[in-house]
Amino acid sequence: MKGIDYFAPPRLEEAVSLLRRYGKKAALMAGGTDFLLRLERGLVQPGVIVDLKKIRDLRGIKSNRAGLKIGAATLMDEIASSHLIQTRYGILAKGAAAVGSIQTRNRATLGGNLCNASPAADTASPLIALGGRARIAGAKRVREVPLEEFFLGPGKSCLQPNEILKEIFIPSPVQRSAGSFQRCTRTAMDIALVNCAVFLSLASKGGVVQDIRIVLGAVAPTPVRVQAAEDVLRGKNPDEKTIEEAADCAAAGVRPIDDVRSSASYRRAMVRVLTKRAIEEALREAGGEA
């Protein structure tokens, strides 16, 4: 850790040009709750740290007709306690509130949670369910990627070496839509064993499911959408049997691992339970039966 240099540029362009200047030697940091651990353990050995927290353009929550923009360096706690997010994008507020302790949420950022690309990231599943898109700044332009294509594997995102995640955009929810976020974990502060986010809309009050996204975290190398389970429900007015069928489908569609926290088979069983719960709750909230 000798001779590390540190920059906290006030503008995004400066951060991008620092990345270009230092190449592989540079490491980006936002809240640092994950990065500093890896630095301490020698898992990363950067020559230069580029701290993104001073960049105004990366902070804050803004909404308009089209939807919601959240700067990548916005704090987890700001997201968890934002009234706007709690009321209109509730599953994201719940996901953010599930991250670590308050000490961590006061430091950790949304962009950091996503860019670390942990399969268990608690904000990733809700954001994918909500149809979120990542806006990524490079040297020349900003490109947009659906969040479900953002993650490539554990610790791997689609960010190129000179790129910085700028913000997340979430389209405004359509009428009669609602979601649910469920997770199970060993202790209050631990990362999720499994998490599940569902977001759906109904064609009419009490009517058929028009659109639905079911997203699972911690059961595959990346957060995953289980489209087979979505297909079971789309266009239907689901009864208990259909919901169970969708939950079975979700459990069959994942590839959980055994690790110190839990066995694969327990995770798979929990996928079934959480998916069922999430579908039921989302249907109730949207004004359907169940």
Partner: protein
């Protein structure tokens, strides 16, 4: 080549400091070693135990997971800064009275977490107290006396 140190300015417990620090030094080490404020403890050094909790710009944070250079221009409060002259903070008194400190190692962090709670929610329920200290581990007390102390301090204030 990279410079070895950076100059920073911080306000800690109302006092202003200007220092040269290594960019890789944690804020916890800076407080303890450079400023001699050893009330803030290191338990895990990994953001798990909360022993190093401080309040920076009004937010409760783990100082072990912050670089000193990140604190440039910020206002910090540590356990040493919450008593007024020789009068203990109501939380400190309540912890003493309720036996909420046994070995005492978690206590400074616990009190900072409790203070952050009471600053935002002056009359919390027991459940809210437990939630507020979820990031602070105590190996001795079993938490019961800590919750009692926080609740009784809330009544005092």
């Amino acid at each position: 080549m990279a410079r070895r140190t950076k100059r920073i300015r911080v306000t800690v417990n109302g006092e202003r400091y200007e220092k040269e620090v290594s960019p890789s030094k944690s804020l916890l080490d800076f407080l303890r070693m450079d400023l001699n404020l050893t009330g803030t403890k290191e338990g895990c050094g990994e953001g798990e135990c909360g022993a190093c909790s401080i309040i920076m710009n009004g937010k409760l944070v783990d100082s072990c997971l912050i670089l000193t250079v990140e604190a440039d221009g910020q206002k910090i409060q540590t356990i040493e800064g919450i008593s007024r002259h020789d009068r203990l903070h109501p939380l400190q008194k309540a912890f003493a009275e309720k036996g909420a400190a046994q070995c005492g190692y978690c206590t400074p962090g616990m009190i900072m977490a409790a203070k952050y709670l009471l600053d935002h929610n002056p009359s919390p329920t027991a459940e809210q107290v437990l939630k507020a200290i979820a990031g602070n581990l105590c190996r001795c007390t079993g938490y019961g006396s800590i919750v009692d102390a926080v609740l009784s301090a809330a009544k005092e204030r």
